[in-house]
Amino acid sequence: MSLDIHAGFGANSPAGVAVMPSPQDFPARMPIRVDVAALTMMDRVLVRNYLRQIAAKHGCEFIPVDGQDAEVSIDYVGERVRICAGTVQELLTHPLRITQVDAVLQRFVKPAPAAVARESRAARPSSTVSALLLPATRQSGPLRISGHGFGELYFDRHFRFVWSPMEAESLHAALAASQDFRQAEPIAEDAFNERLKAGDLHSVSVESLCWSMDTGAALAGGEPMVGEDQLVRLSNWPNLAWMPDFESWLPVLVTASVAPIRWSELRQRLVAQGIAPERVAEKLQLLAIFGRIERVVASEQLSMNPAPAEAALSASASVLGRLRARLRAMLAKPQHALGLSA
């Protein structure tokens, strides 16, 4: 038995939707052949991730090997997944980021036919799109994203995925080289929000877009999500790397992550860092909406890495200051082809 992937996952693929067993259920030693030429660019990304998951499931490596053929052949031989193809490099080094790719996959993984179903009786854990991010919005109403970060967003109608401009350079290069460029179109703020409201966006991309585009978000109705005197803590760190002033946020967020703090005090401390009050309100709202802030009952005490720290003290303030200066200098340097560095 072998698995031939020639039609891709997409509903508009010429030969229909490929039937794929869940990566978790994928049997060992099943040969896989992938006809890259027949796949859309997005399909290639999905297939790559699918294969990576299979490799991970079986505890083996996913090893790219350059070859000349247009067809990717994968010999799944226990310890290794070997991939040979001329175009496979695109599959493996594709710069575009897809988070929660399994959720995308799941949308396109149809119930397995009898032959495969025998191999995949164990049900895959459910992780439907509705169970993904935005837990607060499910309770509190529709979300609206706004701000100055819109301008170079691309919406993929096929997969309802919005590509982030933080990878615009890579995105444009990849899309321009692909016949699938026609499937991605610029999307403006209003259209974005219309689609969000209609549930027509891949929800996992929404949060990363908000941070990377430096936008704000609001729930319909606009009621505050957290009371002023509410004790909260940062339970879950966001990726603020693409916010220009992330350094100002970190000392306060560290404080909020190691001990409960009142919502109003959290805001005041951030403002004291020199961040504009409106910006503070906007980003705190994002943290709350995406479930990164947790309410804490007054009696609860939290502490991180509670043991004393001789080693930390061995780093003097002046050395830490020099390190900070160096990191700032590195951050200020122009970056090359984001996402493409190995």
Partner: protein, 175 residues
């Protein structure tokens, strides 16, 4: 002064150190127990120059017990550490547990961050929360953040996060 990156082979330790180091990282290799593979990277080493001071040394080490002989070398003088987790690992929490146990002594002394890598290929949703809860249940709460360390900006963000944790630790001890 050292910072230690702990994680399984292929998780991104070398990449992170290459991203941050002032010179191409030095890599040492040892034979793998698996004959199919030629070598397994045992240690990555890079440096960030600190303008007149001793440089900040960056060490990348595998967390498996068979590399135990390296740990004292890299732990001595460490001021912070990162546990890099491969999100595509079938049992990432189990792997993390192993590393937390192996590096418990260092993690008790210095600020540590769990970094979720390869999130773009990971199967589970809401995995950050799962890690946060798991660490709390183990009595070892620490920040968990998902990053792509191939991107210089995200690697630098991680360093800034650690720096903020170190400075808070210093100020709370001083206070």
């Amino acid at each position: 002064m050292k910072i230690v990156f702990v994680g399984p082979p292929g998780v991104g330790k070398s990449t992170a150190i290459r991203t941050l180091s002032d010179f191409p990282p030095v890599t040492t290799e040892v034979p793998s127990s698996d004959e199919e593979r030629m070598t397994t990277v045992a240690l990555d080493f890079g440096e960030i120059d600190l303008d007149g001071d001793e440089p900040l040394r960056l060490y990348g080490v595998p967390g498996q017990e068979r590399f135990e002989f390296i740990w004292p070398l890299v732990s001595d003088g460490a001021v912070g550490m990162f546990f890099l987790v491969n999100c595509t690992d079938p049992e990432p929490l189990k792997v993390l547990d192993e590393y937390l146990t192996n590096f418990a002594e260092l993690a008790d002394k210095v600020p540590a961050i769990v970094v979720l890598c390869h999130g773009d290929a990971a199967p589970d949703s809401l995995r950050e929360q799962q890690f946060v809860r798991h660490l709390e249940q183990r009595g070892r709460p620490m920040p968990v953040v998902e990053l792509d360390l191939r991107k210089k900006r995200e690697a630098l963000y991680l360093m800034h996060m650690l720096l903020a944790l170190i400075e808070r630790r210093r100020s709370s001890e001083a206070g």
